[in-house]
Each structure stands twice: as C-alpha cells, then as structure tokens.
C-alpha cells in the first residue's frame, strides 16, 4: 500500500516505508506509510499480533528495548528523523501510557507526576514543580480527587485514577504526542468512560495515538483510524467513513466481527 487515502493538512508525524522485524525474515510491521494528523485522535486497530503495538512503540523508539530488533524506513516528527534525536528528547516530545496503570510504587502522587523530571535529574524550582503538578493533574481531571492526598503513594488510587495519573505523568513533560497502548483494557466501564472523555479533551492540546482492540472505543472517540492486519496497514481513513463504508474487504470483515 502506498500513501494513505487521507488528506491531512497539519501533519505532525510521518511514517515512511517503516518495517520492523523481531527476527530475521519475520516482519512484525511491513512497509507502512502514513501521516498522522496533529491535535487529533488516531486509533490503531487490528487483531492480536497484527503489529499495532510495535508500530506504536516505534514512534518513541520503545521497540528498540527488545533484543535483535531491526528497523527499516523512518519516522519523522516535525520533519525530523526520530533516530537523529536523543531518546530523552524524543520521549519528552512523545509520551507514552501503557495498558496497565504503572505508577512508580515507591513514589507518592506528587513525585509520580514529576517522575520524568526527577528520574532524568532535571532540577525545578518549587513553584515550577507545584505548577506542573497542578496543571497536569487538572488536565486529567484528577486534581480535585487527589489534591488533599498528594503525598500518598500513587498505588493507593483506584485503577482508573492510577491510569489518569499515568497520563498526567506523561503530559507533565508537555509532549507533542501522546501514545496510548490499550489504555482502558484493564479498567472497568466507568473508569473507561472517564479516560475516553479525557482523551477527547486532551486532543485540543496534544496529538493522541491510541492502540485499541475495542472497536466501539475507536468509533466513539477517534478522528482517524488505521486498520492493521498481519503487519500491514490495510486501511487508513476518517473514522466515520471507515466504520460506515470500509474500502477493504479485510477491514469490513474485522469490523463486522468475522475475524479478529
């Protein structure tokens, strides 16, 4: 598949002929070309093992943590190859939230929000710290719930609150892009709804890339959708068009529940 069917006016990320293999001859991601729209939610869907998480992790080079990985092609952030950036700079610009909430168990809520600064040894003045914590927690609508217990351990929060804390931790760095790897699959429906509302709100400030195998979630909140199958980007388009009128028979099959 060549360039996407999608016309994007304000691109932020460009994927060019990206192929990733974990073993020689076994490609997890096969020659993907795509342009990601800025300040929008792009959902990446597909059945298990289709390479969607690998693609997501490639955006901040987290996939390089696996041994023996080979990457061909390139990803451009603001037209700059991400492999020419240091991982710390890249990951400050492209934050990540994982499937299971993972606040640092040794840190309290306040420290968790500032973990990125703390662990990287970036010194902040007290007023700056307070401001970042309040803004990040307010952005994820957690401030009112935890403002009286900022110095308690983050692991005492409920699962949904923990996940929002992790999102706050990611946006504390004020990134351009947020990567979310099935952020609601470990949460109950109420907490899921809260996170979804939050993502819709967050796209005003950030570009959101969301891996999900929950199709209705993609339909509810995403602007653009990618459908991946066996490492290929089968279809990429506006979510409402793709869900009502898929062009590829494999997309249609997945959306109607024939496989996946």
């Amino acid at each position: 598949m060549t360039e996407t069917q999608l016309n994007i006016n304000n691109p932020i990320l460009k994927v060019r002929d990206l192929s990733i293999s974990y073993e020689i001859g076994k490609q997890a991601v096969k020659g993907i070309n795509a342009t990601i729209e800025s300040k929008a939610i792009t959902a990446i869907m597909g059945p298990s093992g289709c390479g969607k998480s690998t693609l997501l992790r490639a955006f901040n080079r987290m996939h390089e943590l696996y041994p023996n990985i080979t990457t061909e092609g390139s990803i451009l952030l603001h037209d700059m190859d991400i492999r020419e950036m240091s991982t710390i700079n890249l990951r400050r610009k492209i934050g990540m939230v994982f499937q299971r909430p993972n606040p640092f168990p040794t840190m309290n809520i306040y420290e968790n929000v500032l973990a990125g600064y703390k662990l990287n040894g970036i010194k902040l003045r007290r007023s700056e710290r307070d401001e970042i914590v309040e803004k990040s927690l307010s952005d994820v609508t957690l401030w009112d719930e935890v403002k009286d217990s900022l110095f308690k351990k983050g692991t005492f929060l409920s699962g949904g609150q923990q996940q929002r804390l992790c999102i706050a931790r990611a946006i504390a760095f004020n990134p351009d892009v947020l990567l979310l790897d099935e952020p609601t699959s470990a949460l109950d429906p109420v907490a899921t709804a809260k996170v979804e509302d939050l993502l819709v709100k967050l796209k005003e400030e950030y570009t959101v890339l969301l891996v999900t195998h929950n199709m209705s979630q993609a339909a509810r909140i995403s602007d653009n959708s990618m459908f991946m199958y066996l490492g290929e980007l089968v279809e990429y388009g506006k979510t409402d068009i793709m869900f009502t009128n898929p062009k590829d028979s494999r997309t249609e099959g997945y959306l109607t529940g024939k496989f996946g």
Binding site: L90, G95, F104, G116, L119
Partner: protein, 298 residues
C-alpha cells in the same frame, strides 16, 4: 449411572486413606518439632542464669576467674562483649563486601537472563553455595591472612563469610527483580530515563524490601559460622575493632568455652544469645518478605 453405589464405596476407602495420611503427617511433624522445643528449652534454662548486664559489656573471663567463681557458687564474671563486637565487626565488613557485588551480579542476571555468561555465573554461584564453609576459611587464610594482613584478622574472616553470602544475595536479588512488573521498567524507559538511572532510581527502590530480606537471611546464615573464623579471625580475649587484628566472634567463643571445663555455663548463655539474635533476624526478614509480597498485589 448404575455404578453410583460402587463410587460411594470407594469414597469410604478414600476417606480412610485420608485419615491415615493425616495422622501420620501429624505424628511425623511432632517428631520434628519436639526436639526443637527441647533444644530451645534446654538452652534457655541453662543459659538464662549467666545473662546479666556484664554478659553484654564485659569481655570473656579467663579460666582462673571462672574456676574461682564456680568454687564459690557464684555466677561467672565477665561476658561475651569481645565476641559480640567481633561478630558485628566481621559481619558488617562481610556485608559491605558482599552486598554491592551480590546485588550487581543479581541485576546482571536479571537483565541478561539467557546469555551464556549468565548461565556460567549461575552455575558458579550454585557451586559456591555447596562449598563447605571450612574450605572458604582455608581460602580466607591463603588470600588474606598470609598475603594481606600477615596474620589472623577480622578482615580475613569477613572475606570468607562474604564469599558465603554472595550466592544467597545473588539469588535473592535476581528473584526479587523478577517480581517487579515489567510495566514499571517500561514507564521509566518511556520517559527517556537512561539505563543506569532506571536501575538505581527505579528498580532498586522498588525492590528494597525484597533485597533486604535476602541480605538479612544471608547475614543470619553467616552469624553462626565457626569453622571459617577459626582459620581466619582466630579469636581474641579483648575487644578489638581493628580489622587487621585477630578478633573474636560469638560462635568462636562458644567453641572456646566448650574447651574449658570451667566455662561450660557460658556455652549455654552464648548459645542463647546467638539463637535469639538469629531467630529475630529471621523473623524480621520474614516480615519484610511478607510486606514485599502484599505490596505487590496493589
């Protein structure tokens, strides 16, 4: 479905087997527990008479003092202060040597579980665990006593005991690190934190209670070691805090008291002290381990 009565028949027999097994387990466990209770009882009853303030603050008496006291039906003067301070000195130095090395090796094994070098380290560490402690004493003698301190010394004892601690610390570090959810590491990496900072600022703090459990268990294991210390620390009748000089330790003292017919009473008291010390270390490490496990569930 006609076989149902047959099944209930065999249920009865199974019931009987169950009862037999249960009773034999109870009897066998009693056989194990009763001697332990007798040992503790005997040590407490015989040892308690000598436990007083002097026992903790005065060095061991000489044979003549003990003989005089026995003849006058008094408690033996002096105590085991030279042994207690020596034990602390030797164990602390051994821990300072073994803990950093052991934890670093453990982290290496955790980070590279399948490399050939890791397999080699694991094998060597297992062999090390099987080496008789007296052999480690010989090694401490050859390396330190003969070449470094040119005489018996606390340092030599610490080196021998540190080698004993290593395999336990390596193993417990690796196991504890394995229990940290991978998501925690990923969270740190996803913020661009470099590898060494992830280890120092995330992995070690997250596993600190597990790591201390391993360290405490290995300490309680070496506290009672006598044989390697005979060849290295030798013993001393005065309180010594210089690691290059011969030093006493509680288990060494027990051996000395045992060899002097006038001081047999002190054998019991010193054993009681050592027993309580090791037991409390074990209980503390058990508590820590429990805390570590419940902490993880959240």
């Amino acid at each position: 479905m006609a076989q149902i009565p047959a099944i209930s028949d065999s249920t009865n027999r199974r019931h009987l087997k169950n009862v037999i097994l249960k009773v034999s387990i109870i009897i066998l466990s009693l056989i194990t527990i009763v001697p332990i209770i007798f040992i503790i009882y005997k040590i407490v009853v015989n040892g308690i008479s000598q436990i007083n303030l002097d026992f903790f603050v005065k060095p061991s008496p000489d044979s003549l003092q003990a003989m005089t006291a026995l003849a006058n039906h008094e408690t033996i003067p002096g105590g085991i202060a030279n042994g207690i301070t020596g034990t602390f000195l030797i164990v602390i130095v051994a821990s300072l040597l073994a803990i950093p090395v052991g934890i670093m090796i453990g982290i290496y094994l955790y980070e590279n579980p399948t490399s050939r070098y890791s397999g080699l380290i694991r094998n060597i560490s297992e062999i090390l665990q099987g080496v008789p402690s007296i052999v480690l004493g010989v090694i401490g003698y050859m390396w330190i006593v003969k070449n470094v301190t040119n005489g018996f010394s606390a340092l030599a004892g610490s080196v021998a005991l540190a080698i004993m601690m290593l395999p336990m610390i390596i193993k417990s570090t690796e196991e504890t690190m394995k229990m940290i959810p991978n998501e925690i590491r990923e969270a740190a990496f996803a913020m661009g934190v470099p590898y060494h900072k992830v280890i120092i600022k995330v992995l070690i703090p997250s596993s600190i209670s597990g790591l201390s459990t391993g360290v405490l268990l290995s300490v309680s294991r070496i506290l009672g070691e006598t044989a390697p210390l005979m060849l290295t620390a030798l013993g001393s009748s005065v309180i010594n805090l210089n690691i290059t000089k011969p030093t006493n330790a509680v288990p060494l003292l027990i051996w000395e008291f045992y060899n002097d017919p006038n001081m047999v009473k002190l054998v019991w008291s010193s054993s009681l002290f050592l027993l309580i010390f090791v037991l409390s270390l074990n209980i503390i490490s058990g508590r820590l381990a429990k805390k570590h496990k419940t902490g993880r569930k959240k």
